[in-house]
């Protein structure tokens, strides 16, 4: 008998409590439905156009008109190692598919950077002063977040809808949509997403392995809304394989101001460490 299976009930309970607390309390208070593109779902309540909803999710998470800067506080709770905190400065330019993550804390890893440059993701280590290849699918700094969690959503390009149903999540009416990857270059072969009918916001995502085992649950209880763009203010990633392990990411000090082109270069990452 699997040891992990003994704690399955406890895990399920934990997730339910999280979902209940975060969503039933109306944590999405920063969003006033009308400003967010919710028309697709409302117009198609009887027979929703799920593909259109998926496209809307991608569109409203993509910051195409400007750049994006924010500070991310990443706290990982591990049953063996305890709590671990990272503070990261994020720079995004979705229209060119570029981003940069610079680690500010802890001190031991200060200056490490992840630079998405055209098609390749580079990891910079200030100790060796070397860039090495890494992947969007890799975990970010040992947390439960992956590098791709910090980029724009590309669900419509990477997945096809295999089924959906209506349901509720806390106080929210949602579509629960099953997605299957259309190619083998995304980390999650299968996804199940909970999308609020009111404003097409993704509230919860379950990631399944190639063997269709639940690996991770992501919760997005709070969003920042800037014009037509929405960015999760809080992200919670629950490891479904290791009981008690989860990561919370909180976004602060966000800005949509344009950034110099030099930010998304290796030279900038190197200079940031001098």
């Amino acid at each position: 008998m699997l040891s992990g299976a003994r704690t399955f009930g406890m895990k399920a309970l934990t997730v339910c409590v999280w979902v209940g607390i975060l969503f039933a309390a109306g944590a999405l208070s920063g969003l006033g439905g009308p400003g967010v593109r919710g028309g697709v779902a409302l117009a198609a309540e009887a027979e929703p156009d799920i593909d259109a909803i998926i496209r809307a999710i991608d569109e409203q998470s993509s910051i195409l008109a400007s750049d994006f800067t924010a500070t991310l506080t990443i706290v990982t709770q591990d049953p063996e190692k305890g709590a671990e905190k990272f503070v990261v400065r994020e720079f995004r330019r979705d229209r060119e598919n570029k981003f940069l993550l610079l680690i500010l804390e802890p001190r031991a890893q200060m200056g490490q950077g992840y630079l998405m440059d055209e098609e390749n993701l580079w990891f910079y280590d200030p100790e060796s002063r070397k860039f090495s290849h890494t992947s969007l699918k890799e975990r970010f700094a040992g947390s439960d977040a992956r590098n791709e969690d910090f980029t724009q959503s590309t669900l419509a390009k990477d997945y096809r809808v295999t089924g959906y149903q209506s349901g509720t999540l806390g106080n929210y009416q949602v579509y629960i949509i099953d997605l299957e990857a259309v190619h083998n270059e995304v980390a999650d072969p299968y996804l199940k997403i909970w999308v609020a009918k009111e404003h097409n916001l993704v509230l919860k995502v379950e990631s399944y392995s190639l063997t269709k085992r639940l690996m991770r649950t992501a919760l997005f209880p709070n969003y920042i809304k800037e014009g037509d763009v929405v960015i999760p203010r809080v992200m919670i990633f629950v490891d479904e394989l290791v009981p008690g392990r989860r990561t919370q990411i909180t976004v602060t000090e966000h800005s949509l101001a344009d950034l110099p082109d030099t930010v998304f270069t290796k030279a900038f990452v190197e200079r940031a460490n001098r």
């Binding site: 040891s3 063996e80 090495s132 699918k137 980390a187 392995s209 009981p243 392990r245």
Partner: protein, 451 residues
């Protein structure tokens, strides 16, 4: 000549305290350089044998194929050229292995351990189970496709026993997340005393988890009966693959060693061999499998280069120590000559030639330096003896350099000759000025001096 040596030896003994102090400084320098040289030689040897054990061979042929988006993945799909190029019945070849590998997290309850897992075709590798030292469980029946043979270190950290199941989180060759469920059938001792000991499962099951077909694999490795044949056999395999029209390269055969580049490239190759998914987009696309033939010695270049740096630093420190000691010798001999001015005058008055006087002082310097050198070698030997008997098995990060938990010290004649040669040269050079001054003394003036 013999008389000169005898006088020099007597003089050295006569001023024992001074000689011991000078010799002690020299002994310290010789001890340090000898220990560092011996340590690096031993460490390179240990790393070589540990790496051979962990990587599972002396010669490796990897295959790389491209995904639709031109990303490189480690996979040998069609291995017919390879089978034609390698004749397992060649007496120089001890065994061949076709393996896949993945680097994943073993999960048992709330405990996790990072571990390399190798997929083995147990039916094809009949001798596989013979090489394992089973601590718990059995490797007699390896028919369960989801079996896992686990190294003791990983089992202890997880707190898992034979018969229990665990989960493994890993990535496919294209980087997709996957989870496998395994049942532990045996726990094995880490025979290589190397921190990267593999866990083993069936090739077909591991392939199914990392996105390969059951017959595919990632690394073709060859153990030789004599490691001196590495270069010859690797060259023949490469040529046979070329002749068969296969895409093949020897990426590390003719490279000049530049430490940084080799480390970076070496890490990339090791990553591929140890099951890490690549994310690199190929600059030039190709069709089918591109083979790469590599040898243990080529993959060891970064380690050898690192050890070479350590040796160079030690040599630099040794020379600095000797220069400082040389200044000491210079000053000491100047004092000696002042003290012995009348004695020099007497010897010269009795007919001793200038060259003989010079030789006496140079021989004294040689005795002090060689005596100090010998003492340094003895000290180094004693320290190496005790250190090599201490166990460092549990010190994190040292596994790679150890032989069954112990440091190994190997002194090569070449290192000895070079170090003692430098020592003698600097000592004689330091004594030469005072010795010349002594030789040039006028006997009458020397006899009449009062110090």
């Amino acid at each position: 000549m013999w008389g000169v040596v005898r006088i020099a030896f007597r003089n050295t003994r006569r001023q024992a305290r001074r000689s011991v102090l000078l010799g002690g400084a020299i002994a310290f320098g010789v001890m340090i350089i000898t220990l560092v040289n011996a340590f690096t030689q031993g460490a390179v040897g240990n790393v070589r044998s540990n790496f051979s054990y962990a990587a599972g061979g002396h010669i490796f042929v990897t295959g790389t194929e491209l995904t639709e988006s031109r990303r490189e993945v480690g996979r040998i799909g069609d291995d017919r050229p390879l089978r034609a190029a390698v004749d397992p019945s060649d007496p120089r070849i001890a065994s061949v292995h076709r393996r896949s590998a993945a680097y994943g997290s073993l999960i048992f309850g709330a405990r996790t351990v990072s571990q390399q897992i190798e997929g083995v075709d147990f039916a094809a590798e009949e001798h596989f189970r013979r090489g394992l030292q089973v601590r718990e469980g059995s490797v007699e029946d390896l028919s369960d496709p989801q079996l896992l043979i686990l190294p003791a270190k990983a089992a202890d950290r997880l707190g898992i026993r034979v018969g229990e199941s665990l989960l493994v989180r890993l990535q496919s060759v294209t980087g997709q997340q996957n989870v496998g469920e395994f049942r532990v059938v045996a726990i094995i001792e880490d025979t290589g005393s190397f921190g990267l000991s593999s866990a083993y499962t069936s090739l077909a099951y591991l392939n199914s988890l990392i996105g390969l077909e059951p017959w595919e694999y990632q690394v073709f490795s060859i153990f030789l009966t004599d490691m001196r044949e590495i270069e010859a056999v690797a060259g023949e395999i490469y040529q046979a693959l070329v002749d068969a029209g296969a895409l093949v390269e020897r990426p590390y055969s003719d490279r000049a060693i530049t430490y940084d580049d080799e480390v970076e490239e070496g890490v990339a190759v090791l990553g591929q061999m140890f099951g890490q998914a690549a994310a690199i987009i190929a600059e030039e696309p190709w069709e089918g499998t591109k083979f790469a033939v590599m040898t243990l010695d080529e993959l060891m270049k970064p380690v050898v280069a690192a050890m070479g740096v350590l040796d160079s630093i030690a040599l630099g420190i040794f020379v600095i120590l000797l220069v400082i000691t040389g200044v000491g010798i210079l000053n000491t001999f100047r004092m000696i000559i002042i003290e012995r001015t009348r004695e020099i005058g007497t010897m010269r008055a009795f007919g001793m030639q200038k060259g003989t006087v010079r030789s006496i002082f140079l021989w004294e310097a040689a005795f002090i330096s060689l005596g100090g050198g010998a003492a340094g070698l003895v000290l180094a030997g004693v320290i190496a003896f005790f250190v090599s008997r201490a166990t460092f098995q549990d010190v994190p990060g040292l596994d790679f350099f150890l032989d069954n938990g112990h440091f190994t010290f190997i002194v090569t004649p070449a290192d000895l000759v070079v170090n003692l040669g430098i020592l003698l040269f600097i000592s004689l050079l330091s004594a030469l000025l005072p010795a010349n001054a002594a030789a040039k003394m006028a006997p009458a003036k020397a006899l009449g001096s009062h110090y």
